[in-house]
């Protein structure tokens, strides 16, 4: 009887720790993933609008649009990392709409890795804005 009891706490703790890591991963890692996704979405919303507002049907307008996107100071990963690999696309007539994609925002996974999760999780975002938006009259 005594022999069987030995080591029980160790086993119980190990099992509980794995479950604990999974729960911590759900709260911590998913929290960061959702924030990163939201930050990326807010960024592409603003960037698409910035790009669309510069369009005038010329190549120079598209250059100004790309510069306006590059100038935006927004960051992700709790406001610490700059967006990289941002893609800015335009309508064929160069004046109707702009589409901004932030494709490679890779959130590093902390806890879920320990229970079989991936090392990084990518949260892309994209937005389209019309060049002549509806303006609030207020």
């Amino acid at each position: 009887m005594r022999v069987r009891q030995k080591g029980f706490v160790l086993i119980a703790m190990s099992v509980a720790m794995v479950l604990m890591l999974a729960v911590m991963g759900l709260a911590f890692d998913f929290g960061r993933i959702y924030i990163a996704r939201n930050e990326a979405q807010v960024f592409t919303d603003a960037a698409a609008m910035a790009a669309a507002s510069k369009l005038d049907g010329t190549d120079a307008g598209m250059d100004r649009a790309r510069q306006a996107v590059a100038k935006l100071p927004m960051r992700w990963n709790l406001g610490t990392k700059a967006f990289t690999g941002v893609v800015v696309e335009f309508s064929p007539d160069k004046q109707s709409w702009a589409r901004v994609t932030a494709p490679d925002n890779q959130v590093e996974i902390t806890f879920l890795r320990a229970v079989g999760g991936p090392a990084v999780f990518t949260v892309p975002a994209h937005s389209v804005a019309a060049a002549k938006p509806v303006r609030l009259t207020e």
Binding site: V9, Y34, I35, E39, A46, P73, L136
Partner: protein, 153 residues
């Protein structure tokens, strides 16, 4: 004799494992809640920034600019530019005063962009307090109507 020694072991084991478990739970609750609040702030600031970008910029006097900023702060805090007196904030305990609005002007004195950020907001997450200043922040290009000679209604 043996039984009492064994139950002492169990007490120590419980104490050690409980210390680990409780700190894990406390950390999970604290970070989970803080991340949730931060996410809500990102949403509120993003929506407020978009509102600011599309809103008519009236500037017949400083009071008009100030009134415009009040409307933007209210939009971030309450989701409404003219909230009812008993309106509840979109994010727990967020006050309009904790929202900062800055206009970026171009060379000709017209608004080019607007930045909206959170200042001095604290999250009380049961086991610890986090303070956000300058984050989250957005900058939107100004795409609204520029009306330098109109006054706010």
């Amino acid at each position: 004799m043996r039984r009492s020694r064994q139950s002492g072991h169990a007490m120590i084991e419980l104490a050690v494992s409980a210390a680990v478990m409780v700190s894990c739970v406390a950390g999970t609750v604290q970070f989970g809640y803080t991340f949730y609040i931060y996410n809500e702030l990102v949403t509120a600031v993003g929506n407020g920034g978009r509102y600011a970008a599309m809103r008519t910029y009236r500037a017949s006097g400083q009071s008009d600019i100030d009134k415009g900023k009040v409307a933007i702060r209210n939009m971030v805090a309450f989701g409404d530019s003219r909230p009812a007196p008993d309106a509840s904030p979109q994010v727990a305990n967020l006050k309009p005063e904790q929202v900062r609005v800055d206009w970026v002007m171009d060379e000709s004195g017209k608004p080019a962009a607007v930045s909206v950020s959170i200042v001095d907001y604290t999250v009380d997450a049961a086991f610890g307090i986090f303070r956000f200043t300058g984050k989250p922040a957005v900058e939107y290009p100004f795409v609204g109507r520029f009306a330098p000679s109109e006054s706010e209604p």
